[in-house]
């Protein structure tokens, strides 16, 4: 990768992934600079979630290259798949937030956030707890530390999930439709936390349907359709003035909705 911009934190090159005969990703490349925020948008089934899951190798690509920081993996014929230990070590450096939160229901909010540092980093309990409490305070949930997830609202659950991912002190954060399962009135509190993270300089990749949020917070936006990046560019330029007809058609839906709301 000689043409990579200096300081790129995440580099995805020529990624391909099929589930059975269905090609979900076809030769996708993506670069995220350190501290950059990239939003992946596109219709359902466009491959944006699969692309995100390939960044922390939750989905193992069929071909291509994945690099996060100094950890690089190459996939394709003739290459050996990384072992479970190597995979686990790599994933510990990337944080992920899921659409359905995936909090551990048998643990309190505090224990959820402590779980990674305790089990994976083998951090002593007092330090793990101090870190977890600080993070819960950061996402505005210091008073919910002892609650079980079943007692939390969707927005609160997702903020705990963000704290849980941050507890591993990851180099990058991946958001997989983090607000799609939330009631509309709860979306704001989660976006607020994500906005603050971006302002702190966290490197982030965000799969989202919140176009206005992507325009505001992301530096760059990539529009995916049918497993390829159709158009990629600076967030405002791409969203306000998309060049490719597919991007225009996709965004027209949101612009229309925006107009309907303001009129």
């Amino acid at each position: 990768m000689t043409d990579a911009p200096a300081g790129a934190k995440i580099e995805i090159a020529h990624l391909a992934k099929s589930f059975g005969t269905h090609a979900v990703l076809k030769d996708v490349s993506l670069t995220v600079p350190a501290g950059g925020v990239v939003a992946l948008i596109g219709p359902s089934g466009s491959g944006k979630s699969t692309l995100l899951r390939c960044i922390n190798l939750l989905v193992v690509p069929d071909a291509g290259e994945v690099r996060v920081g100094n950890d690089a993996f190459r996939f394709g014929p003739g290459t050996r798949l990384p072992g479970t230990t190597a995979l686990a070590r790599f994933r510990a450096t990337t944080g992920m937030v899921f659409q359905h939160f995936n909090l551990f229901p048998h643990l309190t909010a505090l224990q959820n956030v402590m779980e990674g540092p305790r089990t994976v980093q083998r951090l002593p309990k007092p330090e793990a707890e101090a870190r977890a409490r600080a993070l819960l305070a950061k996402v505005g949930l210091a008073d919910k530390a002892e609650q079980y997830p079943s007692r939390l609202s969707g927005g609160q659950k997702q903020r705990v999930a963000i704290a849980r991912a941050l507890a591993m002190e990851p180099a990058v954060m991946l958001f997989d439709e983090a607000t799609s399962a939330l009631d509309p009135e709860l979306v704001g509190e989660v976006l607020g936390v994500m906005r603050a993270l971006a302002a702190d300089g966290m490197t982030m990749v965000i799969v989202t349907h919140e176009i206005a949020f992507a325009r505001e917070v992301a530096d760059r936006v990539a529009f995916l359709r049918d497993g390829v990046v159709v158009e990629e560019g600076p967030a405002r330029t791409l969203i306000d003035a998309p060049r490719h007809p597919d991007t225009q058609a996709f965004l027209a839906h949101f612009h229309r909705r925006g107009e309907a709301l303001t009129s």
């Binding site: 922390n56 939750l58 479970t84 230990t85 995979l87 686990a88 070590r89 790599f90 994933r91 510990a92 450096t93 990337t94 944080g95 992920m96 899921f98 359905h100 995936n102 909090l103 551990f104 229901p105 048998h106 779980e115 990674g116 089990t119 994976v120 079943s150 999930a161 849980r164 991912a165 591993m168």
Partner: protein, 220 residues
């Protein structure tokens, strides 16, 4: 008209106590060993390594689909000849009952593990946990809650299954009852008492299971 006489059974009280002790000890042994075997078989069946899955499948189906009485007799009479080893009646009984129970436990444990939402394993993996850590810290604690009622149920069945070891002259409750019956010529009273003793030992257990189920249901 038959005249019931339970008073004469008092002579055999220590026989019944010993028999019940052996039955309880057998149950504890075969439940513990059976659970370990079941857990191993369940994990093998969930493994990504196909030969391990086939092996586990073969074990489960062989022991689920043959009668326990046949297994007991086979382990005592046929296995020693086949393997060229000596095996005591107690050894054969523990082996057969544990493996039989393990085949049922395995399916319960496997079912409990696969019933946990896939997102849980994904979240654990995303945090950097190895599959073993994810299983121990995230999946099993949740699965265990769902597995406890059926596991207890199966263990109650195992308690009653221990009565079959009497065919190998292992001195359990039923065997001691038979001894007493031959001695006293009072089989009707004896088998009534044996039934009552099994019931008295098991009924409190079923009550504990029911209570446990209720508590688990409310904590979800």
């Amino acid at each position: 008209m038959y005249t019931w006489d339970f008073g004469s059974l008092w002579t055999y009280r220590w026989l019944f106590v010993q028999g019940l002790g052996v039955t309880v000890a057998f149950t504890v042994a075969i439940v513990v060993i059976g659970l370990l075997v079941g857990l191993a078989a369940a994990l093998a069946k969930l493994s990504g390594f196909a030969p391990l899955r086939w092996l586990s499948d073969a074990y489960i189906e062989v022991f689920r689909c043959t009668p326990l009485l046949v297994q007991l007799v086979w382990f005592y009479y046929a296995l020693p000849i086949l393997a060229g080893i000596e095996i005591s009646a107690v050894g054969a009984s523990v082996l057969a009952l544990s493996l039989y129970g393990g085949s049922f436990y395995a399916e319960i444990i496997r079912g409990g593990i696969v019933s946990i939402d896939r997102g849980q394993g994904e979240a654990a993996a995303a945090l950097g946990m190895t599959p073993a850590q994810s299983l121990r810290r995230i999946i099993l604690p949740q699965a265990l809650k769902r597995m406890v009622p059926p596991l207890m149920n199966q263990s109650i069945i195992q308690f009653k299954n221990t009565s079959l070891v009497s065919v190998l002259a292992v001195p359990d409750l039923l065997y001691q009852g038979q001894v007493a019956a031959h001695d006293s010529y009072r089989p009707l009273e004896i088998y009534t008492l044996v039934a009552v003793l099994y019931f008295a030992a098991l009924y409190p257990l079923t009550w504990i299971v029911r209570r446990g189920e209720k508590r688990l249901a409310t904590s979800d």
